[in-house]
């Protein structure tokens, strides 16, 4: 009876049911752990779980309802991530005008997505902003520290605005030839796989982690977490094939790509945090840190996944 109702749902809402089940099960597990081991401190885990409920609701709500709301959400993610990054940068007073232009580039980038102009979306930040922003910085007529400012600002735009905006373009992609999947369902696949991989790497690392993988960059990451997280994510992703045009073999390959790219993104952002001398990028999400602490893996996984799908399934 319930199963029939779920089968009658569209793939997007079926995924909503999957997300709900994962949240309910993990909340029950944590409640049970707290009950069985009252001497241990589960406060942080609890905060994290509550935040997951909020993040999943906001994300799924925005993506499921319509494209415009989804794009507004992703533009806001980019804006907030860029804001966290720029606040930690050592900017010069002379960078003020250039930074105003930097933040203006965010709505413009998402505007290209909203009107579906792929050619502009894909070169706006790597070509036009890359060329124009240093001109604006130069016009402040302060040469000391010029290269550092121009490079750091452009790097942030590439990672957080250009990278994350691929989530937006994926959202508006149509169905590939011969498949019921579309951009929206593949976006749900990508984000679920990337985020569950982060969680599972954390869980495997916490329970079995012994051998540090990058001790000088991210002391909490272990080989056990990395391998266990990736393997279990790949297995789980096979259950989400209804969101994709992929065969079994291709699903394994693609979820390997997402998880490895996501690990790379997370580790790169750890290096950035180490350089800035901070533990978290901010305090927006209780238990997680800043926005960047949550979307770091997506900054890498989104463009990799998007260009793979576009090349192999939209030709």
């Amino acid at each position: 009876m319930i199963l029939d109702t779920i089968r009658a749902l569209s793939p997007v809402w079926q995924m909503g049911v999957v997300i709900l089940c994962v949240l309910v099960v993990s909340t029950i597990v944590i409640a049970a752990l707290r009950f069985l081991q009252p001497q241990k401190n589960y406060a942080e885990l609890l905060h994290r779980t509550i935040s997951w409920w909020v993040m999943a609701s906001v994300f799924f709500g925005a993506v499921a309802v319509n494209d415009r709301i989804g794009l507004v959400l992703f533009a806001f993610l980019s804006f907030w991530a860029m804001k966290e990054y720029v606040t930690l940068l050592k900017t010069r007073p002379a960078d003020h005008g250039g930074l105003v232009w930097t933040f203006l580039a965010i709505p413009i980038q998402y505007y290209w997505i909203a009107i579906g102009w792929y050619g502009m979306f894909v070169i706006f930040i790597p070509v036009y902003v890359f060329l124009v922003l240093p001109v604006r910085l130069m016009l402040s007529r302060e040469t000391a520290g010029f290269v550092a400012s121009a490079s750091q600002i452009q790097w942030g735009l590439m990672a957080f605005v250009f990278g994350l905006s691929h989530l937006g373009f994926l959202l508006i992609m149509p169905s590939p030839v011969g498949s019921d999947a579309n951009g929206r369902t593949m976006l749900l696949f990508l984000v679920f796989v990337a985020e569950i991989s982060d969680v599972l790497q954390y869980v495997w690392g916490k329970t079995l982690g012994r051998h540090k993988i990058l001790p000088s960059v991210s002391p909490n990451k272990t080989w056990e977490g990395f391998l266990g997280g990736i393997a279990s994510t790949v297995v789980l992703s096979l259950g989400l094939r209804f969101l994709t045009p992929f065969s079994v073999g291709e699903t394994i390959l693609v979820s390997l790509m997402i998880t490895v790219a996501g690990f790379g993104g997370g580790a790169v952002m750890s290096a950035v945090k180490r350089d800035f001398g901070v533990k978290d990028f901010g305090g927006l999400i209780p238990g997680h840190g800043g926005m960047l602490d949550r979307v770091d893996s997506l900054c890498y996984a989104a463009p990799i996944f998007f260009h793979y799908v576009r090349y192999f399934h939209f030709r």
Partner: protein
Amino acid sequence: MSDTSTSVDAPRRKPRGTVTHVMQIAFFALVVKPFMTFFIGLRVRGAEHLPSADPFILLANHNSHLDTVSLLSLFPFSRLRRLRPVAAADYFERNRWVSLFTRTLFNILPIERKQISSENNPLRVMQDALSAGDSLILFPEGTRAAGEGVGHFQAGIAHLLLRAPGVPVVPAYLVNMGRSLPKGTFIPVPFFCEIRLGPPRVLQGTKQEILASLEKAVRELSC
């Protein structure tokens, strides 16, 4: 310029009108609060130090036009009526429109910096406001400093506290406002800004002692 010196005192004797008060509340509810939350991402440390009763003096370093706006945004709207940012008349009342804007939306207490008479003496104006039950937001550096950090305090605040003993002073240190909207710029960059508040204190002693302890209070919040 004679225009400003007469406008400094006389109209301020009237209590703030309801329409003006409502306009200020609407401005804070519809513009300032969303701007501080979603654009600036204002963080506050030590919000519990804000006094629940007027009058008091809120004292901060000054690097940006965001300073006054963000400090005012900490309070419930109903308290805006009693909160008077002390502002230089020669700048914030430089013409009729700026004056209307700053008085209506920010409830400023304009003080004269240049042609001081016994009538418009800033100390008297501020003391009158305090004894009328208004609280002051005061930047004792006297002007916006370049960049970030705490500059040298002017002596006026110490004179004011000697004339109005017993008024509690809340020190505040403002972070990143001078990066977001430094002097000479008009479009803010959305750096995260922070307000750090210290416990209220009642100061006694000589002018130098008061001044030194206030500077120290703000500086301590900067570390």
